[in-house]
């Protein structure tokens, strides 16, 4: 065991509750240092004008920041995002709708 999963899990919980992410729509788990996040990724508030492009940009930035925070938790060796509405492809976050189109 590299680090204790419960310690990682408690840290992730705190990261989520302190972030702008609507964590009520997410579930998460830790398996031997690998963090899983599932559900629908939404933010609690948008700090941008209401245009679709700026909102998409804001969501992408929030995702990048969230991933960075989780990866920096001691003991985390990987993060597995299984969001219903966003997917990471070739290092880029893309809304799933766009992939389907």
């Amino acid at each position: 065991m590299l680090k204790e999963d419960f310690v990682i899990q408690s840290t992730i919980r705190r990261i989520l509750v302190r972030s702008n992410v609507d964590y009520s729509r997410l579930t998460f788990g830790t398996v031997r240092g690998i963090v899983y996040l599932q559900g629908t990724f939404e933010v609690s508030r948008f700090y941008v004008d209401g245009s679709a492009e700026s909102m998409k940009d804001f969501l992408m930035k929030t995702l990048v920041s969230l991933e960075k925070k989780i990866r920096s938790v001691p003991g985390v060796i990987d993060v597995n995002f299984q969001f219903l509405n966003w997917k990471k492809e070739k290092g880029q976050w893309i809304p799933k709708k766009e992939i389907e189109e």
Binding site: F6, Q9, G29, T30
Partner: protein
């Protein structure tokens, strides 16, 4: 505020009602008129603002939408006391006391209600019960001279005090509500201030201390969070999530024996909550107590068969025990739900 409302004593000086919150809830009600929660919240805001009739109509609407909504029923009961509609209030609190005979605070309210309506014998009966069931009532009555030498005691001085007692229920819950509103918007310092006001007005309410604990936890003030959760649990030892939150804090501060002890308690109090069992399993697994971890994960999966992470952890623990067949079975189940999970696929390939 008209003179009639002033007479009813509804409005209290110095309590600003946040107009922004009112506007937001009003808008929400227009979108979701059938949400009892919103009706209850709006009723509370109106009660504090000094509109008892408006408050009553929203509380009644909330109860119409959800007749078992206890919080609203109590809000309505306290509103009737403020409006001096004694009979309506008495009906509500008596029916609640029948359901919860050991609720000391309900006894306290009934005692005050009877005292203020000149029914001293009934007042003494309920105040005595309040002392029996609620340690804070005993302390408080001792302080004001109502509890002396093991009995309820009325004299000219205590009568004056009892007549002046204001129950503060709405104001306390109002500050708690504003605190939650601010906390959700990341304004934790202001939220703490509101929760503190709530706790000062109603010092025996475990919920206010639990909310304070949560805000301190968000802020990273772990010791303060622990103190508030512990205070909350002293008032309500059956509040399972309080133990769980303490466990998470001890997890963050790497005090694993305490984290384990509190999570075990949380699971004992909430045996049907899969997430708590999952966290307990992680604690056991970290301490190499695999058998207990497997037991908890199986329980979590029985509660929620789609609990993906619990299944992955279970597979990994079976691998630790060299139970390849069982591990493979769990991994295959996962891949049926999430075929793109490379980590699980690799694990399965390795043991196949």
């Amino acid at each position: 505020m008209d003179s009639e409302e002033r007479d009813r004593g509804i409005r209290k000086k110095g309590i600003p009602v946040n107009e922004q919150i009112m506007r937001e809830i009003e808008k929400e009600i227009q979108i979701h008129p059938n949400y009892a929660d919103l009706q209850n919240q709006f009723g509370l805001l109106l009660a504090v603002k000094g509109d008892p009739d408006g408050a009553e109509s929203h509380f009644l609407e909330a109860l119409h939408l959800n007749p078992k909504y206890r919080e609203t029923l109590l809000n309505l009961g306290y509103l009737y006391i403020e409006m001096k509609r004694w009979k309506d209030a008495e009906d509500i609190f008596l029916s609640e006391v029948r359901k919860h005979p050991k609720d000391g605070f309900l006894r306290h309210v009934l005692g005050i209600l009877y005292f203020q309506t000149q029914r001293q014998k009934q007042a003494a009966f309920h105040l005595q019960k309040a002392v029996q069931y609620h340690p804070y009532c005993r302390e408080y009555y001792q302080k004001i001279g109502v509890w002396k030498k093991g009995a309820i005691h009325f004299d000219q001085n205590t009568e004056k005090v009892l007549k002046r007692i204001r129950l503060n229920y709405h104001y306390a819950h109002f500050h708690n509500f504003v605190g939650l509103y601010l906390a959700k918007r990341g304004k934790s310092t202001q939220a703490v201030r509101e929760f503190r006001k709530a706790a000062r007005l109603k010092p025996d309410e475990s919920l206010f201390h639990a909310n304070l604990g949560t805000v301190y936890y968000y802020q990273g003030s772990y010791q303060k969070a622990v103190d508030e959760y512990e205070q909350s649990l002293k008032m309500d030892p059956h509040y399972g999530m309080g133990y769980a939150n303490l466990s998470y804090i001890y997890g963050l501060t790497r005090r694993i024996p305490e984290a384990l002890r509190y999570m075990e308690k949380a699971v004992r109090l909430n045996p049907g909550y899969a997430d708590l069992r999952y966290n307990l399993a992680l604690l056991y697994s970290d301490r190499k107590r695999q058998r207990e971890a497997i037991f908890e994960l199986k329980k979590a999966l029985r509660i929620n068969p789609n609990y993906l992470f619990a299944r992955i952890n279970l597979g990994v623990l079976y691998e630790d025990q060299k139970k390849w067949k069982e591990a493979g079975r769990e991994y295959r189940k996962i891949l049926r739900i999430t075929p793109e999970d490379e980590y699980v696929r690799q694990r399965l390939e390795r043991i196949s």
